[in-house]
Symmetry: C4
Subunit: 209 residues, 4 copies
Amino acid sequence: MQQDTKTHRIEAFSDGVFAIAVTLLILEIKIPDPTAIAPRGLAAALFAIWPSYLAFTISFVTILVIWAHHHWIFTAIKTSDLILIYWNGLLLLFVTFVPFPTGLLAEYLLHPEGKVAASFYTGTFLAIALAFHGLWRHASSGGKLLGVDANSLEYKNAMRITGHYRLGPPLYLGSFVLSFLSESASVASCLLLAFFFALRGWRRNASNP
Amino acid sequence: MQQDTKTHRIEAFSDGVFAIAVTLLILEIKIPDPTAIAPRGLAAALFAIWPSYLAFTISFVTILVIWAHHHWIFTAIKTSDLILIYWNGLLLLFVTFVPFPTGLLAEYLLHPEGKVAASFYTGTFLAIALAFHGLWRHASSGGKLLGVDANSLEYKNAMRITGHYRLGPPLYLGSFVLSFLSESASVASCLLLAFFFALRGWRRNASNP
Amino acid sequence: MQQDTKTHRIEAFSDGVFAIAVTLLILEIKIPDPTAIAPRGLAAALFAIWPSYLAFTISFVTILVIWAHHHWIFTAIKTSDLILIYWNGLLLLFVTFVPFPTGLLAEYLLHPEGKVAASFYTGTFLAIALAFHGLWRHASSGGKLLGVDANSLEYKNAMRITGHYRLGPPLYLGSFVLSFLSESASVASCLLLAFFFALRGWRRNASNP
Amino acid sequence: MQQDTKTHRIEAFSDGVFAIAVTLLILEIKIPDPTAIAPRGLAAALFAIWPSYLAFTISFVTILVIWAHHHWIFTAIKTSDLILIYWNGLLLLFVTFVPFPTGLLAEYLLHPEGKVAASFYTGTFLAIALAFHGLWRHASSGGKLLGVDANSLEYKNAMRITGHYRLGPPLYLGSFVLSFLSESASVASCLLLAFFFALRGWRRNASNP
């Protein structure tokens, strides 16, 4: 029971960080300056900052999907150890970092150097995917932290999940590489990936009712 | 019990987002610049930013009322599925967005383009009302997620709640339409709607002791 | 048990708001501008913003003490009703507002109009004291929400607490009135009051082991 | 059980403050101004703010390690008293303060007055180490709050932990003194200390499975 409590507090802390990171994103959308909107009006000024809304939405959806997957793997994880705490800490470090590249992308998406901003943005998501993969790999390996035997059905199910999560790093690496060719394609791929992982969660859950 | 825990963590995450969004609102009230207050003094400068206090208060009360209703519907929701998680995510996306239109309204309420700011502000609340309606519609439909039979008394009670929540989208659509005619009437209607839904919650709770 | 859960979620939400409000205070301390510190150096610039540290500390300690008292009264409150939720909401509205007068006081304490800033600051604490008093008055009156009989010993204990909390509004009214005479005396009284209520909590707890 | 709940709410509140403080750190990293990056480009501008990433990372890791140790000592602490609440409050006050010296270090690390910023930064960590030491000293002394007898094995284990935590203040005092000689050595020592305390946690946990 004590160990259960331990996992509970890690989850609560992580939930706090996810919730705050996702809510701080809004601070990166800047209110148009009343002295500068004159020629075309406020409606045009609010329309012109669409990269801010786009970056906000992609980052929000991505963090939400990561949170949902974090939620699922922690329903499987029964005990914690220090390495788990620090893998989780590395994941949270990168999640906490997200508002900065989000603001950067909003500011620079339409700038001649948009590709640099897109590389920085997708590079952050690649780092998150690697940390998530490392977290689950450590948590699932051998079944010890899952509280299951390595020959059990539950362990085989867990290994199937591992197969799904293995896709994260190469796919986000693809987004990162794409950012050197086209910032719009790269950013669009991030949005697609968020929906892709949302749907994979769906199919996985549907198959284990 | 595992599913109960699942709902618990969605509630905890949502509570976090509600609490942070409501607290970040204060960052939109800007401290008067000491070099600019000279002619009429600090008291006058603090009085002159009353649209900031008004926008802060309306957004705070609205989010608080949404939180209270979210709290009530989740006491009825017994299990979660992926679609519920993503409806909830959409609701949180719009709630998280609130500090931006709040700051916009504070900045532009007395500006010639105040109507645009009021449209943006009420439009955000309309989006929240639609997401909340969608969330409850999915959660209540068929009684499955409520853990009740479709012929039971509890289900009929739930359907009565649906009737109440059906009012949200058209009423906030009214506020939105009103913003094209009068920014003050539109903003005032948002405050009234928050109290209206607070009182409906009251009557509903009073009738099901 | 459902009602217990209800109180639990109010406490969790309130804790979130208290924790965020207290942490956002730090954003009101501004990093000295490297281009402006030249004549006397960084150490002098860091020393010169002592009103920021003072305002931060007083607001932090005050919110912490309010949180601790909120914590105690909610160990006594067994069930909630809508009026309790909205009294609590009013309290949270004022607590959420604290970073603004804190930043204002930090900016204007040494300014000729420091008295106005101190009135605004102590006025916010007065509003908090009134909301807290209203919350406890509603929660304790008749013993219903405390789950105790109006003739029981527990009810008499609760009434004794009411006696303590009755002191809050007049004492903070004193700080507010004092701000028209001397900003330093008024601000100092806020710090003293925070320690006073911290110690009253101590004695009360010590007498009911 | 009531006392258990009490400790639970202190932990929840503390977790909230830790999570928010750690997430607010990101706001200290400023997005490069598009009008100022022209000569060398965005990639160079993003590289040039490496002190921001460094300060962010050190502060994040340090707060995470403090949180992990806070988590461990609260699994041992069974009841709370007012002095514990206020020691904990003092610890949270200093943790909440961290984003300010973090932003200061980011801004001034490469400035001729970098030593002053490093003293301020390490001085904050010294204050945290002292508050943490005081918290544990009060919590463990006599075994009362741990719910163990002063002659028990558990108490001896707790005393061994005290031995570990006694290292915190002198080591951070070392970092602080070092800041007067070399800002880089001082900052590097903070990163090393965070990893050192992370590993000590490891060994302690490994020895009490």
